[in-house]
Amino acid sequence: MQNPNFEYMRRLSADIRVETVKAISKAGAGHIGGAVSIADVLAVLYGGAMNIRPSDPDWEHRDWLVLSKGHAGPGLYAALALTGYFPMDWLDTVNKPGTRLPSHCDMKRTPGIDMTTGSLGQGLSAAVGIALGNRINGIESYVYCIVGDGEINEGQIWEAAQTASHNKIDNLILFVDWNKKQLDGKLEDVNDPIDIAGKFEAFGFEAQTVKGYDVEEIYSAIERAKKVKGKPSVIVLDTLKGLGICFAENAVTCHFMAVDEKMEKEAIDVIEKRYEQGAYPGGESRK
């Protein structure tokens, strides 16, 4: 993209948070923490960085996104609805009987979903396959993939990483949502991944670590990653689980929460207040 509109991206990320909390509140409960920690990267991708046609989701020259941490589906659905892939009112149906928006990403049900995920650890392998296939087809597009920082516990992630660098796929850009928590608690209390960026470097990736809630930093990192030739790139997004949703930020565990209308309203008020005060997404202490 020639002129990234950072203000638009920032606003889009706020709208993604708002729509995600609304959708989860309508559903009654959901994976709020991990759905909102990727709101900013989704806003950068769908707000300008990706080459896409929302009216033609399967356009063969598009950039792809594999959301490997498929439980964050509602965050991505908000981004897709806000950028015109499907009507906004679909968001009211998340997890309802017969919905096209199930909790975990499902490429057979949802326009704009490029890969089915939900069993953690599988998405990066698929992203590698897509990148290889596009290369064979001479399609010059990028394949983006988002994995969770807990998800990279899975050995398959590292098998995929090795395949990616062995095959020198520079059309693959991986994000790690380094939000510091997995389901049972903090990463270091469960099975410490130690140095995430360092590990990917050891696997032959070009690695960067950026503020995961700063659209300008994320955008610049993508631009730098695109200049890297002959190897895949990883961008580690330094962020917090639940960031931007007051009740989730303050909870000991915000992986999966019951959300009611009162919590929804309060969360939206806080988002808007922080936005006005220039303290978005995380309030002063977190920025």
Partner: protein, 319 residues
């Protein structure tokens, strides 16, 4: 075995009964260890971990590694219990469960949570309609599905006593009460919950309550249904299946699982080899799961007492 005086929804969650029993066993037997994979809290194992931190290992989101580690713990004399959702406890770890555990002749207990439609809003990726099929295909492995908390409390100690690979299907939340607390429940021996003469309904897990409800409805129409809780799917109580066929001449199976290679298949194998009688199977009809509340999914996959009732009438008409 004694049936409960009512079949109300229990107030104690299945996972609570499970962890309480595991703690009780853990106090008696220091070789019991737990291996968890970032679903420790969801599976309700946290209480065990708090009491026995040195005998608990959270490998993170690494199910195959967790089963492999469990195999090693067993080789070193421990009795490992590995916990995760049923889909991951079967599909994801199948080769490790097969080779490192069963083929190696080791002693590993695998607990699969939220089987079938009880995965509710986690949807298709999490809805195991195939875990029984997979685990039943592992030579020597036993496959058990709990039908209420009394059964959990009676069966887990027997699982500890038994050397080998045991796969347990554990609905995490509350089920309907089936058994009186004084019941004796023996792994491998089916429980006849109700005698009958016209048809036998053989069920497991949450389908046991549906079977009892269907039997009640049938009785109102003068049809006498025998109801069997076949909570040990492997080794199957062949004698009970044969006896049921002899007594009633028609069988309906009901399971929260694909009709392919689950309880229905296991029962059919025994029938055709011994005493072929008409039979119908209630279960997912070779379909993937989807999101929704449990009551919706019960209807969607035809797992309610209504389907059991209809299939019972159909099978009787085929005699």
């Amino acid at each position: 075995m004694r049936i409960a005086s009512n079949h109300d929804l229990e107030t104690v969650e299945m996972r609570k009964a499970f962890v309480e029993t595991l703690i009780q066993e853990g106090n008696k037997n220091s070789r019991i260890v737990t291996v968890n994979s970032d679903l420790c809290s969801s599976m309700g194992i946290t209480d065990f971990v708090k009491i026995f931190p040195d005998r608990s290992f959270n490998v993170g989101i690494q199910e195959s590694n967790g089963v492999g580690v469990s195999a090693g713990l067993s080789a070193a004399g421990m009795i490992p219990f590995f916990h995760t959702f049923a889909v991951f406890a079967s599909r994801r770890v199948f080769d490790q469960a097969f080779v490192s555990c069963a083929y190696a002749g080791l002693n590993v207990k695998i607990v699969g949570g939220d089987p079938g439609v009880t995965a509710t809003t986690n949807g298709g990726t999490h809805m195991s309609f195939e875990d029984i099929a997979l685990m039943r295909a592992i030579p020597t492995a036993r496959v058990i599905e709990f039908s209420d908390t009394t059964m959990v409390r009676k069966v887990v100690p027997q699982v500890v006593e038994h050397y080998g690979v045991d796969y347990m299907r554990l609905m995490r939340k509350c089920l309907h009460r089936i058994y009186d607390e004084s019941s004796e429940i023996i792994v491998g021996k089916a429980n006849v919950l109700r005698e009958g003469t016209d048809v036998t309904i053989i069920a497991c897990g949450l389908e046991v309550y549906e079977a009892l409800t269907a039997a009640q409805q049938l009785e109102e129409e003068g049809i006498s249904a025998r109801v069997v809780d076949m909570f040990t799917i492997k080794p199957l109580d062949n004698e009970c299946v044969i006896e049921s066929a002899k007594k009633t001449g028609a069988i309906v199976t009901a399971e929260n699982h694909n009709i392919i290679n689950g309880l229905g298949s296991a029962v059919a194998e025994v029938l055709v080899e011994n005493i072929p009688v008409p039979m119908e199977r209630v279960g997912a009809q070779d379909e993937f799961g989807e999101v929704g509340p449990q009551n919706y999914l019960m209807e969607r996959f035809n797992l309610t007492s209504k389907t059991i009732y209809e299939k019972a009438k159909r099978v009787i008409s085929r005699k």
